[in-house]
Amino acid sequence: MTSNDLRDVLNLPSEHSPAPRPNKKQRTGAPRPNLKGLAREVQSLGGDNPIAIVPEVPFFKKRRYASRKPAARWELRAFTNSARGDNGSLVLRHWKRKTDHGPPGEPPQEPESRPSEDGVDTEMKEEKPEDSAFAKFNVRVSVPQYNEDQYQSNLQSTEWTKEETDYLLELAKEYDLRWPIIWDRYEFVPKPPEGEEANGTSTAVVTAPKPRTLEDLKARYYEVAAKMMAVQKPAQYMTRPEFELYEMMQNFNPEQERKRKEFALNTMARSKDEAREEESLLLEIKRILARTERFNEERRELYNRLDFPATDSDINSFKSSAGLQALLQNLMSTDKSKKRKSILGPGDGVSPGGAVPGSAVSESGPNRRESIAAAASSRRDSDARGPAMSAEPTPTTASSSGPGHKKKGSAAQPERRKLSAQEEQVYGVSYHDRLGSGPTFRYEKINKLYSHKSGQQQLRITNALAELDVPPRLVMPTAAVTAQFEVLWGAVTALVDLRKLSDKLEGEIKLEEAKKIERERAKAVLGTGDGGDEEAQGEKGNEKGKEEVTNEDVDVVGEGRQSGEDAGAGGDAAAGSVKDEPGTEKDKGTGHKRSASELSATSDKSAKRQKK
């Protein structure tokens, strides 16, 4: 059962393919062989599977009739091979299919005239036998040519006589520059000075021709070839390949070749162990290379994974967790509305929330394809990133210039209207720099404040709150209440801190006083008053410094509270409390509780106002 069937049942229009599905039964029925002499009912007994009866097909007869053609006529046709270069004096014959338009050839009925010696000649005179199709494969190398003058002016050598050079070039031509063969067949016998060619071999032994190595032959040949090349065409007029050849021939170094061959010989003469060692080294190299290859592969894969598909729009908004949060919600809402829409059908969704995802879906279509194309190089992450990419350009997020966007009750607005402060308050819109991931309860936020404090301080704070009749856990933690509570809490902690500090100072003062008394007593005993004065002054300075510190602390607290009360619209009360504070600071010791209660009273008042 497919989704199509489901749609059928529910009478929903098919989403993807509006065209009707092809009927499968039609297809199976089509190629059924038509068995003759078999009732249709009997045939249909087999159902989808045709009855296994092999129809008699007269193969052999058919084929026999099909290939009835006159037998091909063949003739023994004479041919020559132009590659021989003997003007077709050798006429061989092979069997060829007779063609109507081809050369008529001799009638095969009179074979006795053919083998005769002059028969070949007369045949040639009568008509030219065709050329062999293989003649074109005859390729000859071109060997440098020179005449006597050129040799004398360019190619003189102390090592080589002209005869020997001629002989070398002849061999090179004959063996198509296959040097091993040239060297193998190189048997230059210097001409005896007199005309005694008859026993040339015996004089050759006497004159003892120089044994030429392969490198010698090559060097001489390349020398001749390069020089003749330069004679025919000066080097500056040569084309590029010509010049390269010229260079190569000129730079032939027989000594280097000889060394290379020695090296090759040594390589062949390696012992088994050496060979094995080299083999193992080669194996090792291969392994190392393979490892680097794999490493590079992995690294590339890693890079691909780290790499994000390039987008044309700014993706900074998704880099923060808040952005991702918004995206997730956006996706969820899109998904939800999509489902709803598909059921209701297009046009039904009148809600603004429904309209937005609709446009988002339509927009994300091509983008998805784009993202797939972009992620083609890194297919591993395409699954994870595809939807993100596609949902990215939806208006909700694309238009949100601010980093985060917190919804309160109502759905996000597609177009961004600047809200006035009044409206913001009415709709409960607020802006945050940063939001933690996931939903949280506000009172948890409050609880979190406690958790940073030590147990004793927590106790003190709760005591202070209890004194103010504020429950430690807020009954109705609206945003304003929590904000106020935070302010209050901040003040309380500041107070607690201050108290701690003052306690400490007090203790110190007491200690110092005790010391002083002790000292005075000692002075009284000794009768010196100078040092004590100084110390008292020092103490005073010390105290002053401390006071300044605390002053600053309280200032900070006051500011925080001020900002909080701005939001909470408790302006005048806050001003009073701010004014209060220096006063509270002035009288230490007993003034603690009073100031605290006063503080709490003002904040409490504002909180109560908020509740209303």
Binding site: N81, R84, L90, L92, P115, A133, F134, R178, K261
Partner: protein, 468 residues
């Protein structure tokens, strides 16, 4: 329908380079001579090269196994596979090429007595041209180019004689002499190869580069089939119960005997003297059978004479060979030892006769290969070693290729060695002929033939110029 064969009206030169010109291929060897048509995959005719001579008449063709008075076996080649008796050789080859390979010719009209006129006289050709034509017709191979195989060390004289016979006596339109290693490498489908030809009379090792023999690499040794036979005879002589070779034709009847027991057979007696050559030829058949069924090459590791190997061979199951007279014996380590002389000169049995000495160290197969490779350029050697072509019927000894591979790997440990040996026995035995058949039927080869015209112009010395 679609199963029609390829159209024969188009010349498929790009696929198949063949172009049949009804050439004949002849490969005369020391032990057997093969002849056939180019383009076929096996010689039509294979006959032993030794021929029979009786009462002043030469009999060629298949061997005759029953002795007759005055019957002897002759040989027109020497042990170097070089023809010595050209008269007999010509007749032997003519027997093959003309009598056996050509269809019977119709009698010329001037002689068939069908054209007898009313006056009882035969209408003869008047002018000389007609007489020339009939003369030419009598040249038996006027329609077939001939390709002959020769040993790589064939002297120029013999080559010239060959083309002379071919052109003058048989009237071939074209001729070519191919060297055996080149043809064998063609048969193996390799233009570049190191050919190890272990034939009847000689082992030859030669490098072939691009279809041309490298002359400086040619190495030869007599330690081949015939020498192996003499080793077997020596081994039989020194065996504990001495083995006497009684050829088949001597045995009238025999009774089965225990292994190692003296034979119990009735021998034939002839009232005429049996020539030594015939007896040797017949004995050779027995030895050959022993060679084929019992002798094996020690595959290694190491040489057979290395300590321990012989004992190991003794412990392995042996092979029983029954002589024609019924004497039989189990052969164990000896069957390895006989062939070991090819590889290790120290392992050979003492030579049977002074004129057939055992191979020296330089004539063992590994030494031959090394010498052959030393005769070619260094750059070619690795390529040659990866294209070693083994051919010749003696290479069919069991374990030959294994041993060769082992020896070569020991000699050249760092080089890739690949031995190419045809799987079919017949391809191994007639390798050179098959290569000649391939060559002569190639379309591109037809420019190489020495034509009659060239022969007429230059004389027999052209063969030296052209068939390099």
């Amino acid at each position: 329908m679609s199963q029609q064969p390829l159209s024969s009206s188009v010349q498929p030169t790009d696929i198949y380079g063949g172009d049949e010109v009804s050439a004949l291929v002849l490969d005369p060897g020391y032990c057997s001579t093969r002849a056939g048509f180019a383009g076929e995959d096996h010689p039509k005719l294979v006959i032993p090269t030794p021929y029979h001579h009786i009462n002043g008449r030469d009999l060629f063709g298949d061997p005759i196994v029953t002795p007759r008075a005055g019957f002897e076996v002759r040989h027109y080649m020497n042990r170097d596979s070089v023809v010595e008796d050209w008269d007999a050789a010509t007749r032997a080859w003519e027997y093959l090429l003309v009598q056996r390979l050509q269809p019977p010719r119709p009698t010329p009209p001037s002689k068939n007595r069908l054209n007898v006129g009313d006056d009882g006289d035969v209408e003869m050709g008047e002018d000389g041209a007609a007489a020339d034509a009939t003369d030419a017709l009598e040249k038996p191979l006027a329609e077939n180019p001939l390709l002959m195989a020769e040993a790589p060390w064939n002297p120029p004289k013999a080559r010239e004689k060959a083309i002379e016979v071919c052109m003058e006596t048989w009237g071939c339109p074209a001729f070519w002499l191919g060297r055996t290693p080149v043809l064998s490498s063609f048969a193996a489908g390799k233009p570049t190869a190191l050919v190890v030809d272990v034939g009847g009379a000689n082992i030859s090792v030669a490098a072939v580069h691009d279809g041309i023999l490298l002359k400086r690499s040619v190495q030869r040794s007599p330690a081949a089939g015939v020498w192996l036979s003499s080793q077997i005879r020596s081994m039989w002589k020194t065996n504990e119960p001495k083995v006497d070779v009684v050829p088949f034709f001597m045995v009238e009847s025999k009774k089965p005997v225990e292994a190692g027991a003296p034979p119990d057979a009735r021998l034939r007696t002839f009232d005429f003297p049996i020539s030594d050559s015939f007896r040797a030829f017949e004995e050779e058949r027995v030895v050959k059978e022993f060679k084929e069924s019992v002798v094996e090459v020690w595959r290694g590791p190491g040489r057979f004479m290395a300590p321990g190997n012989e004992d190991y061979a003794k412990s392995q199951p042996g092979r029983v060979f029954e002589m024609p007279d019924g004497a039989n014996q189990m052969w164990r380590e000896q069957r390895y030892r006989v062939a070991e002389g090819m590889w290790d000169e120290a392992a050979a049995y003492p030579a049977a006769s002074a004129d057939e000495p055992n191979p020296s160290k330089a004539q063992t197969i590994p030494a031959l290969i090394k010498a052959a490779l030393d005769g070619v350029d260094v750059d070619l050697r690795p390529n040659l070693l990866s294209n070693v072509v083994v051919t010749g019927s003696t290479s069919l000894l069991n374990g030959f290729n294994d041993r060769l591979n082992q020896e070569l790997t020991a000699m050249y440990p760092g080089v890739r060695i690949k031995i190419h040996a045809a799987g079919f026995t017949s391809e191994r035995r007639h390798g050179a002929w098959i290569g000649g058949s391939i060559l002569a039927s190639l379309g591109t080869f037809h420019q190489m033939w020495i034509s009659r015209h060239e022969y007429d112009e230059n004389g027999p010395s052209i063969v030296e110029k052209r068939c390099k």
